[in-house]
Subunit: 401 residues, 4 copies
């Protein structure tokens, strides 16, 4: 199918892994149940697992994102797919249960519904799995803390390499992209206030500065605030940033970072965008309360809140995550690394699951390094390797003289 092939060309790490899996067959004789968004990128992942010898069954992690033609293509490819766009809640869970029918050895989850179903329906054979979202990992940690987790799960949502590629670069770029698509505003010379200087905020800040913006950072964490300061960004309380900013971007994971007291002092024409997962960071109700009118006809994804004094504040994407709503979310390179880490983790679990306790485990650093190395190879970048003498020197130094 054309769209899957296109995704495959944009995912060179996964393509390389597939070739490797074909020869190494890490999943021979194993069943893998996956609960994921049924998209072209997922199709690439699933086919790689199958190429590695796995029997794969797939359920949707969200019925709204299921692309039925992809589901069909996978089905006709021999994957056991249980997914259809727009099904109701009951069918959704039936699909997940069905994916487990063959007896899964390993599982891949996106949010925790598959793990939860495994535990409630009592499928006994699962040896371990991977969870790919932060939300799912939080659920797993609660289960583990309650002693309820029956097998080891790898938290594949966060590794050093993924944090750089995904948060710093992927989110960094796509948030800017979303703001430009929504407004076509010139960022050069604009004062851009970024709330939150975690990996996402730092990525957005670097990119806004690279486009000529004057970046101001707000933070509640002193270490992150120091980091921003040492990179040359002024750090201010939001109350002082609010009257000078021209573009506001929230990336905090917190709530009401931009609230009524800030709305009250913002400049006419200020642009408000949220880059956080939830739409809680900008207090939209405060905007609604303050506004005498809302003009939504100028451009898609732009609502101009007209205030009593004539100022207009431009809220993008209704305060929802701007890179997904107004742009296209992750560039394919991000999915390539994320699924590469998933696939490597599954292959590692195929051998090592039995040695792990029933807990949430990080991705082993050597797998992250391997995924980074494969990404570099896909980029055409070659690096040095330690000589024997260097390895000895480093080891002896670590041990002590």
């Amino acid at each position: 199918m054309a769209r899957i092939q296109y995704a495959e060309r944009a995912m060179p790490l996964m393509s390389g892994l597939r070739r490797r899996f074909v020869s190494e067959r890490p999943f021979d004789g194993l069943s893998i149940a996956a609960c994921l968004h049924v998209t072209a990128e997922t199709a690439v992942l699933v086919r790689s697992l199958r190429a590695g010898g796995a029997r794969v069954s797939l359920a949707a992690s969200n019925p709204l994102s299921t692309q039925d033609d992809i589901a069909q293509a996978l089905q006709s490819d021999g994957i056991d797919v249980h997914a259809r766009a727009g099904v109701d809640r009951k069918t959704y869970y039936q699909h997940i249960a069905a994916a487990l029918n063959d007896g899964a050895d390993l599982i891949v989850d996106d949010g925790g519904d598959l793990v939860s179903t495994v535990h409630t329906t009592g499928k006994p054979g699962v040896r371990g799995g991977c969870e790919s979202t932060t939300t799912g990992v939080i659920r797993l940690r609660r289960m583990a803390a309650d002693g309820a987790l029956a097998f080891p799960m790898i938290a594949a949502n966060d590794t050093p390499a993924k944090r750089m590629l995904d948060n710093v670069c992927g989110t960094g770029q796509s948030v800017i992209d979303g703001i430009l698509r929504a407004t076509n505003t010139l960022l050069a010379g604009k004062t851009v206030v970024i709330a939150g200087f975690g990996a996402c905020g730092a990525g957005i800040a670097a990119r806004a500065a690279g486009l000529g913006s004057r970046v101001i950072v707000t933070e509640v964490d002193p270490v992150r605030a120091l980091d921003a300061s040492l990179r040359g960004f002024p750090v201010l309380p939001m109350a002082e940033a609010a009257p000078v900013g021209e573009v506001f971007i929230s990336a905090t994971g917190s709530v009401d970072v931009i609230g009524a007291e800030h709305v009250a002092v913002m400049r006419d024409g200020a642009i408000l965008a949220n880059a956080g997962h939830f739409d809680a960071e900008i207090d939209v109700r405060a905007l609604e309360t303050a506004a005498v009118a809302v003009h939504s006809d100028a451009r898609p994804h732009v609502d101009a809140y007209e205030l009593a004094d004539g100022r207009r504040l431009l809220l993008l994407a209704e305060g929802r995550v701007v890179n997904l709503v107004a742009a296209e979310g992750h560039p394919p390179e991000v999915m390539d690394l994320a699924f590469g880490i998933l696939a490597l983790s599954l292959a590692w679990l195929a051998t090592n699951a039995g040695k792990l306790c029933a807990d949430v485990h990080p991705v082993p650093p050597e797998l992250d390094a391997e995924a980074a190395g494969l990404t570099l190879a896909a980029m055409g970048v070659r690096i040095d390797t330690l000589t024997e003498a260097q390895r000895e020197y480093l080891d002896s130094w670590r041990i002590g003289s």
Copy 2:
């Protein structure tokens, strides 16, 4: 009309000028004939001129770009509009001639058709005007060299302030914007080859680097190549850049900068985009000749040229100017400054046209400074002014001790 009002809000320099023109009335008693794209931004310009006392007549500089509702709104506003979308060539020139019927004192041209019509139809009263495009200025220079230009024209297409805002910032941003909208590729870590390091190329380079790309520059001019080198960009001949680049952007004003010999050695998946005015910079015919198939169904504005060896090269926007085709061209801030310079030049001509010879003149530097100052004011930026003592010091120093 809502769209004109929206444009007005996005053009604070023009809004300020309008308020000033209302009180200063620089055009009292004068007729101005303008030949421009009939868009919301032009409406803002034309209404400012009228607010300054001018009788204004407007013809379209291109029938394809005429927005009829804007034309109507202006007409009902008392502007004498001669423009309709899609008219034929004959009507097009009739419209231009009609705009001159009232006897223009000053003119505004976009490309040279209005000036040419003035000279061929022998309208006698024109005291001077402004040309806003590079192409138009070239035509005017030829006319002046031939002794055929009957009145002074100001070349308002290029000033130091406009070059920064338009070429470095406007084109720099919108070209990146166009590439992201077309491909959603991750620029971080990508090798981006920029052909041409003029103001546009330098602007694109700074922005690509700001997004994490490794930028390589190609040039034919040693001073520009030295400039690129001293900013840390490697400069290579295109023959050496071709096999390492992942994104190619031409901004040279030249022809066949990317040709068959480069296509032959490019990497699979390389993206080719043109930022130059004409679609001559990438030799599309060389691509067509080399290709065994062209796949255009993956994404809009992306044609994947499949070569005999299996590589695919992704040509954006058919080699036409990528920021206009795949993004939205100039951000409004650029039009604000460009029309501000036009309006200030016209007001200056109203007083000074009689002192100028019939030639092509640059925008007086003090007008560029004034436009820059108004832009700064609109941005909320305040600057210092020389004290009397400083002015004396600088003057004495220039004169000598």
Copy 3:
């Protein structure tokens, strides 16, 4: 004493802490034995501890660095100082033992000699301490692994805030500073090869790029190599970087990163500098072997190795750490934070040492945050604090919905 006062002015975090210690008296009734370089900065630290109520005794951690006038000033200030420049090894250890004579409750060590003396001489009362160097922490970890460590020690050499200020900013700047002082070379347009992209290498790279250099990175670690790539730096094997580099900077912690095979292909005039702790990173013997003459008279800290083919390679600081030899090492801001973390850790230990096991412990994150906050305050930077509602939101989210 003037020099101590000057240091105090340059260490606002420590000055603030001192004022706080005066009112809070965290060390009332406690003895602290410190083994540190006897410099003006150390004097500031020691006086702050004393201001907090401690009896302090001080020995030198290296007799070569002892500044006798500082020692005297502290002595006359009531500090019990056992240090004199240039003493022999036996006296050195006698000094350390003497510092313990009063019966130390807490200790501060720099390299491990004080801890080692405590353990061999059997001083029983020590409740805990801080080690400020990486080397010392390695010794401590070995002791802990052998079960030989008798009390808790805090590894104060490395925290997130210190890594940024010290490695990224401090080393980043001072290495560039050392190269400029040694050579006065223009970095703009130069190809600078940085071996190692840890915090130090990344800091040097950012600064070299900021001065207009074209930076190339070499690495053995794929995650760090990916990091460098995603920031736009080309990553190459050293064998390929060697013939194109004009300035080479090693920051790897490894050995023979620049060796005979690289010397063989380097450009005439190439500059070689080491930023690593040990002088093992550049294989100086390989240079000596390859050279037909060494010219050392042109500039201090520059040895021009003339090779048989006429090329000259310029080795800086004999391959020793260039920022210490050719510049002044850490800017005072770095010492301010480092000693601030030490002082806060000691104050925390005064209360909490009893709760810790006899092992090597990291600095508690809240102390690092506190030090970062004090640094921000000294810089005049203010940040936001979480509202009650935000704190609840974040807590609830962490717990789960």
Copy 4:
């Protein structure tokens, strides 16, 4: 002589020119009189001219800068040198006159004293020459305006390539270098106020930002202020920048840019440095008036002005140009290009002087391009050349379709 050889190795452009001059002999049969600082770099220039066939006589442009050993080395090399360190004013002018004794065909001046002597002593044979300083060019322009200039002079002080290499890169780097050598302050996180955003100020700003500073710009010129804004630098009046800055750098060419009213509100510990040619930019008398004491013993080139309220402001280099006083001024790469442009201009004059009127002429752009090209070649950078078809396209486009 060793020092001249060292300079020659650091000036690859000049070395290349010398080889060319040896084969092309552009100065065969001509006498050149030069009035320049007698340094190793000048020796390289003078020997290149001589290698091109010229008889060269050299006088000092300032007796304080004459290095007698260099003078002797040149003398014994067959150059006719009239210079000795420390001579009085009368001898100084006698030396200049003596340099003209042989009958100069071409001259090289540094400040205008040689040209002035030529005109007052009535040496008739001079066909033209080059002036290498801005001050000298101003004197020449006055002479030309008065009709007093008897032959053509080329203003070799300023070309596009030299402005980049000299002002942006050379001054940019060496000013930062001077501040670091004087203070060892950490620039990361510091607020650096740069007065003046010409080529020097822009170069300093880029480098300070590259080292992690937060840069603020002050300007009186709106176009330059807009330039700074569009690069993301906040632009403020000095009155508002004064209380927030931690490092102040003046690069305006004006007077009293930092005055009593700013001193009154500056932060304790603020560093004041001047990068302008004259020591008039910081009002040192205002500092002296405000101070109750001046402490100069902490570090060389640092005077701490203690104010009545206890604040101390640190004036570097007594307000004189900081990169010359506290660092080493131009990196050798700058002198290489500057003297390369001089040498190429002289060679061009040897052929073309007769075609020029007696006026001040800019360096012909093709010579600047040639010097840039030679610099690129010395850097190892290769660029593209226009194909025949491209040249035709560009020509036709310029002429019009």
